[in-house]
């Protein structure tokens, strides 16, 4: 957590949306009830929590709510297409002597729940297949043994065990699920009393199709989504369905404002990227007040019914509020305070778009993108391609059966597969490079020099593009180190960020090197090859603890550099001071990085240096 590392401890979060508050547990159970009521309508739920009592209790509650006989399937993150979409059942096919199909998990989960374990490791391709099933409620897998269209109306539960902020399930999936619940910090009591019972869900299910959402409420939901900076058009639609489910649960034919507030809280809040501009006159006062008046004290009694414990709008102004404002407030109340503060400060939260596209460990030969088939018997760790193997065996069957019949004297019916028939699927293990730019945006004229080097940087980016490499951007200035751009292929974003980077402040070099080392380590574990390009003048003047103490800062940056070097990642230091300086050179030495003073670094040389550093 680079950002967290840089932020100091004074933001011990607290607020309504405090991740440890019991409100979170209540939300989690309410979401479970709504999901059990309308699994395919809600799309599903992402539950961020490690394995543990909280997750177990939640799952137990949810399983109690779904009717007996409802299919529930658990899907591992590395599931193969054969199992996910369906295909040929090898054992049965060989036994029967004709192709026997095996149903895919998507089809099996129809009408029930599909639970993705370790969803933060799901790859983009699997996510895309799940997305299609969620969107259409049916898939036609187009695979031998699974060619027919099958219904796939299920609720998807993503068990997200990610720890780091960017370790998350694919955004394309999260976007399609109504709920996102974070229990990772919850340590409170795990009571489920007072929450909907199975019978109530059952009764509500009957009412669901009749429940409606009025036009005003609909407008308010869409308006609230817009005000909170929720771009996807799916969010308001999901919120609408959740409001309808909430109405059905309480036996109302039309969703009330409370139902919509609940939907805003559960569906829109986790997607919020900004806060609406408050009305002019109260704009200074109101948000501040609310924070101070609602301290993070031990939460309300858990017996309360969750929909009714909607964020109480400050009573003095409630008469003047439009429905939309009420919903925005409801959503706002569900946000953790630190997030609120960042939004309030006008920081547009980046969409976690590229989050969660984790590579897999490079050694495995059984995962990745299939790129073709080759003959050969499967050795351990390789995957037999059943369909292709049978295809190769097929034309020989009459002949082989005759042979076998002559040998054994009995009529053979089995499929005769011989060694020559074996076909193995080949997988492409993308060993991608990720170039991490660590850019000194401090006041020591650094950024002016960087602007001069813009051509070089752009060439580097263009190079990355043609190799389809990823880039990441870490910037540092003042007391903070910021992962401005998590690893992504969107170079346009990198360039935009770089161009718009303000300069100024001190140089927390040690913290920046720590952050770079941490990111590099993470990338390497994810199966990528990191390459660090550090652009600085090497004049550290902010120590790790944020103190302006140049000698200590320099000391620390050197020791940080040495521990970075111990990791053995490729690095390049571009000295952006007007004249090559000793401290930058010394730093490069400690980093075991190539040293390149900018005045001599034209685009070509810079590029060559990076290539040299990454060995490509």
């Amino acid at each position: 957590m680079i950002e967290a590392a840089a932020l100091t401890a004074d933001d011990a979060s607290a607020g309504d949306g405090d991740p440890a508050s019991e409100r979170v547990w209540a939300d989690a159970l309410t979401a479970a009830a709504l999901l059990a009521l309308d699994p395919s309508g809600c799309g599903g739920l992402r539950l961020r929590a490690g394995p543990g009592p909280a997750r177990d209790s939640w799952m137990t509650y949810l399983s109690a709510l779904i009717p007996a006989g409802t299919p529930v399937r658990r899907m591992p993150s590395g599931i193969g297409d054969e199992r996910l979409l369906g295909g040929l059942d090898l054992a049965a096919t060989l036994k029967a002597g004709r192709p026997i199909a095996m149903r895919g998990m998507l089809a099996e989960a129809d009408g029930g729940l599909l639970i993705a374990a370790m969803a933060e490791r799901l790859g983009g391709e699997t996510a895309a297949k799940l997305s299609l099933a969620l969107d259409r409620g049916a898939v036609r897998p187009e695979r031998t043994g699974a060619a027919e269209e099958v219904s796939t109306r299920f609720g998807l539960i993503l068990l997200d065990e990610g720890i780091e902020e960017e370790e998350a399930p694919p955004e394309a999936l999260i976007d399609r699920l109504a709920f996102s619940i974070d229990l990772s910090a919850y340590r409170g009591p795990l009571e489920t009393d007072g929450f909907p019972l199975p019978e109530e869900i059952e009764a509500a299910r009957e009412r669901l199709s009749a429940a409606s959402v009025g036009d005003e409420a609909m407008r308010a939901l869409v308006g609230a989504a817009l005000a909170l900076g929720v771009a996807s058009a799916r969010a308001p639609i999901l919120a609408l369905r959740v409001a309808r489910a909430a109405a059905a649960l309480d036996g109302r034919p039309e969703a009330s404002m409370d139902d919509c507030a609940l939907a805003a809280r559960l569906v829109l809040a986790p997607r919020a990227t900004r806060l609406p501009a408050p009305p002019e006159d109260q704009q200074e006062e109101e948000p501040e007040d609310r924070q101070e008046e609602e301290p993070p004290e031990p939460p309300e009694d858990p017996d309360q019914d969750p929909p009714s414990e909607e964020p109480e709008p400050p009573p003095d102004e409630s008469e003047a509020k439009t429905p939309e404002e009420i919903l925005v407030e409801a959503a706002q109340a569900a946000l953790p305070r630190d997030l609120l503060e960042r939004m309030r400060a006008g920081v547009k939260l980046r969409s976690p778009a590229s989050a969660g596209r984790k590579g897999e460990i490079a050694r495995s030969l059984t995962r990745g993108r299939p790129i073709g088939v080759r003959p050969g018997a499967p050795r351990p760790g390789q995957r037999l391609n059943v369909v292709e193997t049978l295809r190769n065996a097929a034309p020989w069957q009459p002949l082989r059966r005759r042979e076998r019949g002559e040998e054994t004297g009995e009529a053979a019916t089995r499929v005769e597969v011989r060694k020559d028939d074996f076909r193995i699927t080949r997988f492409k293990r993308a060993r991608e490079t990720c170039t991490v730019f660590v850019v000194d945006a401090s006041g020591s004229s650094a950024f002016n020099r960087l602007a001069e080097a813009k051509g070089a940087v752009e060439l580097l980016l263009a190079e990355c593009y043609s190799r389809r490499d990823q880039v990441a951007l870490i910037t540092f200035a003042g007391k903070t180190v910021d992962l401005a751009l998590p690893p992504t292929r969107s170079l346009a974003r990198a360039k935009k960020l770089l161009a718009g980077l303000p300069g100024g402040g001190g140089t927390p070099l040690a913290a920046a090197i720590d952050a770079a080392g941490e990111l590099a380590g993470k990338l390497a574990r994810a199966g990528r090859t990191p390459a660090i390009v550090l652009m600085t003048d090497g004049r550290a003047n902010i120590a790790r603890d944020g103190a302006g103490d140049p000698p200590r800062a320099a000391e620390e940056s050197l020791s940080a550099a040495r521990s970075f070097a111990a990791q053995g990642h490729a690095a390049l230091l571009v000295d952006i001071s007007p004249r090559p300086r000793e401290n930058a050179q010394a730093l490069a030495g400690a980093l075991k990085a190539r040293y390149l003073p900018l005045p001599r670094a034209d685009a070509r040389r810079l590029n060559d240096a990076v290539r040299g550093a990454t060995g490509r």
Partner: protein, 346 residues
């Protein structure tokens, strides 16, 4: 699965809708690529198109959807090249089907796409027979790939190749089959998931950028219609049936008209001027521009290509053919606009 969301009920997204209609009027325009944000209705729109396409007449029993009046000379079924001796006779009979819009899902195996040895028959009867794949089913229709940027590169290559040549050549497992595979390739995707290889980009005829509408009214309307559709699909369809029929007639009329749409000398000059101003690679830009403008004019009921039609289709025909600055992604639309401004001001 219920009937897809009606095309006419899709709010906004005019450029994407026009591009798809152009492809429906003139399949030779060379495919449509729709890139854009999540949840903007890209795939909804493509699937909605299926309901609008005029029906086609096909040879009874032909797995390649041959036209009974003009069966493809490549078709092993209808031309009777030896594999099915009775094929030629069948060519006289025909039946009407809705034009195929075939979904190519990620995870589809190559054998299902191109066709392969019929496993069932091979295993049970020891016969060597060809089982046609998706490309056969898509003949004379559309082939749709959602998340095209995630499809394996070798499959994308293969598809573009087949789409360009109009025939699928299968050489595997001792089979050697050639069959017609003329379809309009439609791809959609979200650029944040990964970009499409630049080599593939300009092989799509048209390219549109899809964005989320930002004003409240439009978004409310999107949600309102979606809600109405989900609550009662058949009533919703009934409500939009008239609009749907209107668009269908428009496509049919444009198809009849397109042969008569003239391209005056001025239009060719204009197209070249535009492409030169934008510095596009190769001549494919000009050709696509003219083709798309002709289809667009036909859709509008016009008989000559005027500046207006060229201007309307230039962004979708050219934005992916600009000399590519990989860092300047959002800029391509702006650059096209700028170039157009220059040309039309002169």
């Amino acid at each position: 699965m219920s009937a897809p969301f009606p095309f006419s009920a899709i709010v906004g997204q005019d450029e994407m809708k026009r591009a798809l209609l152009i492809a429906a009027v003139d399949p030779h325009v060379g495919g449509v690529l729709a890139f854009g944000d999540r949840g903007t209705g890209k795939s909804t729109t493509v699937r909605a198109l299926a309901a609008l396409l005029p029906q086609i007449k096909v040879v009874e029993g032909c797995p390649y959807n041959c036209d009974p009046e003009r069966p493809s000379p490549l078709c092993p079924h209808c031309e009777g090249d030896g594999t099915t001796p009775e094929g030629a006779k069948k060519a006289s009979k025909g039946r009407r089907i809705s034009a195929p819009v075939i979904d190519l899902p990620l995870g589809a195996t190559e054998d299902r796409v191109v066709g392969a040895l019929d496993l069932e028959r091979a295993l049970t009867r020891g016969e060597k027979a060809f089982e046609p794949g998706l490309l056969a089913r898509a003949n004379r229709g559309f082939l749709y790939i959602d998340e095209v940027n995630l499809l394996e590169d070798h499959l994308v290559d293969l598809l573009l190749d087949v789409a360009a040549s109009g025939e699928n050549l299968v050489e595997r497992e001792g089979l050697s089959v050639r069959h017609p595979a003329r379809f309009v390739l439609i791809g959609s995707g979200n650029p944040e998931e990964g970009e499409l290889r630049p080599q593939l980009l300009d092989r799509f005829g048209l390219s549109v950028e899809v964005t989320t509408p930002n004003d409240l009214e439009t978004r409310v309307e999107v949600v309102r219609r979606r809600d109405a559709y989900e609550r009662d699909p058949s009533a919703f369809h009934e409500r939009w049936a008239k609009e749907e029929a209107k668009i269908r007639r428009r496509i049919e009329r444009a198809r009849r008209l397109i042969g008569e749409v003239e391209a005056p000398e001025a239009a060719y000059r204009r197209a070249s001027e535009i492409c030169m101003a934008l510095d596009t690679d190769g001549l494919r830009g000009e050709l696509t521009l003219i083709r798309a403008a002709r289809a667009s004019a036909a859709l509008d009921g016009k008989k000559t290509i005027e500046d207006e039609s060229l201007r309307a289709v230039a962004p979708m025909a050219l934005r992916h053919r600009l000399r590519r600055d990989p860092l300047d992604e959002a800029g391509s639309a702006v650059r096209v606009e700028r170039g157009l401004g220059e040309v039309f001001a002169a």
